[in-house]
Amino acid sequence: MNCERIREQIPEALAGRLNKADREALVEHLEGCAGCRTEVAELNAVWRGLETVKAGMDAAPDPEGTPGAKVRFQEMLAAYQAGMAAVQPAVPPVVNKPRAAWFPTQPVWRFAMAAGLLLAGILCGRFLPQTGAGGNPEIAQLRSQVENLHQMVALSMLQQQSPSARMRGVTYTEKIAQPDPQVLDALLQAVNHDANVNVRLSAVDALQKFATGPEVALAMVNSIPEQESPLVQIALIDMLVQLDARGAAPGLARISKDMKMDEMVRQRAAWALHKMEVQG
């Protein structure tokens, strides 16, 4: 075996990870090669030195301490779970309950019971007074108040100093049923100016619900060159594709040719344009 191949095995040998056959070949080579013996001696000195560096780094004082990191993590996890719960309606667990004694066992009686219930439903619907939301101003007013409350909470959380609180604010916007210009502005502000990349990413996701007009797509495409993180830029491009925002095509074309942009972002913009053309 030549010296170069042998030398590539030295770090593995020093780490004790070399298999028996390779180790024996290495030892045999070293017996007859002074150059490789010097190489092993030098790399061994550095390898052992790195162990001391590692021990020093591992024993370095911990100003925040792991508990602080754990609390931050748990806060983030809780915010994420709250966001998930807000967007996914809870599915009641399927429980196999024993059948009630009054429930008929014969299919023919079950059919008769179902038909009876259906008829009763139709009669009730026909003759009982109408109580829909449109017909009851009190319920409509209550709904509007709850909606306003959701908007207020989301807007207030989006202005918090802590990134995790702002993140909760972004996920809270999912609770808002009607697109609101103030919430939309706050989300666009978060996408463009929030110091935390995670909040910016979540705000991009949350925008999907509010991005109904062409001006939102334009604001999103204009935000791409302003972003520092390629991840956020790609998320914005993906969202434009998801929204099928054809109005953003000229902006995407500029991005795909802008050599100042990250290569991955340029490629993604070109992909987005192609995708929009195919969909069209």
């Binding site: 990870r17 001391t52 780094m57 994420y80």
Partner: protein
């Protein structure tokens, strides 16, 4: 429970299981960033971001490979994004500057300490991609197969890169210390 099983459950919606993975790997991820940046506070922020991205992109996890390899792939991307935000800075430990030109008492313990400081200085001066492969191999003790998965290259390439990084570090160390091994 194995890491891969826990991550499969996180991917399938049991996101609370991520806490188990955080407890197992946070220290390693934090060390990875500390070795790269020499900045404790920044490393803590970056480590938090790694776990946030794991949550956000949990659906992309492929259980065929090692979880650790995937974790450090995410960590690499987080670090790359960080580099895109500001120029990479390698903090020089204060004590390294202090020892320049100091007289050497013939004390073995002091000599060892000084060698360690010079080695840290040599490590900090290495190009990022070489330092990274040494951090993964020597400090985080990732297997070559795992490093290959993180760097998306062949195991043979990892072997070459680790050797070349060691060679580079050794040259810098002996140049700084003014002597070579005998």
């Amino acid at each position: 429970m194995e890491d891969e099983q826990a991550m499969r459950e996180v991917r399938d919606g049991a996101v609370g299981k991520l806490e188990l993975l955080f407890d197992r790997h946070h220290a390693g991820v934090l060390r990875y960033f500390q070795y790269l940046t020499s900045d404790r506070t920044l490393s803590e922020d970056l480590a938090q971001e790694v776990f946030f991205r794991i949550l956000k992109y949990r659906h992309t996890y492929q259980p065929e490979g090692s979880f650790r390899a995937w974790l450090y792939q995410v960590a690499r991307h987080v670090y790359a994004d960080q580099l895109g935000k500001r120029k990479p800075e390698v903090a020089m430990p204060e004590e390294v500057r202090e020892i320049s030109g100091a007289a050497l008492p013939p004390d073995r313990e002091f000599q060892k300490k000084q060698e360690t400081l010079i080695l840290r200085r040599a490590l900090a001066a290495m190009p990022g991609e070489k330092r990274e492969v040494l951090i993964m191999s020597r400090f985080l003790e990732l297997k070559y197969e795992e490093i290959a998965a993180v760097l998306e290259c062949e195991v043979g390439t990892v072997k070459q890169r680790v050797y070349r990084a060691m060679r580079d570090l050794s040259d810098r160390f002996f140049a700084l210390s003014g002597e070579r091994a005998s």
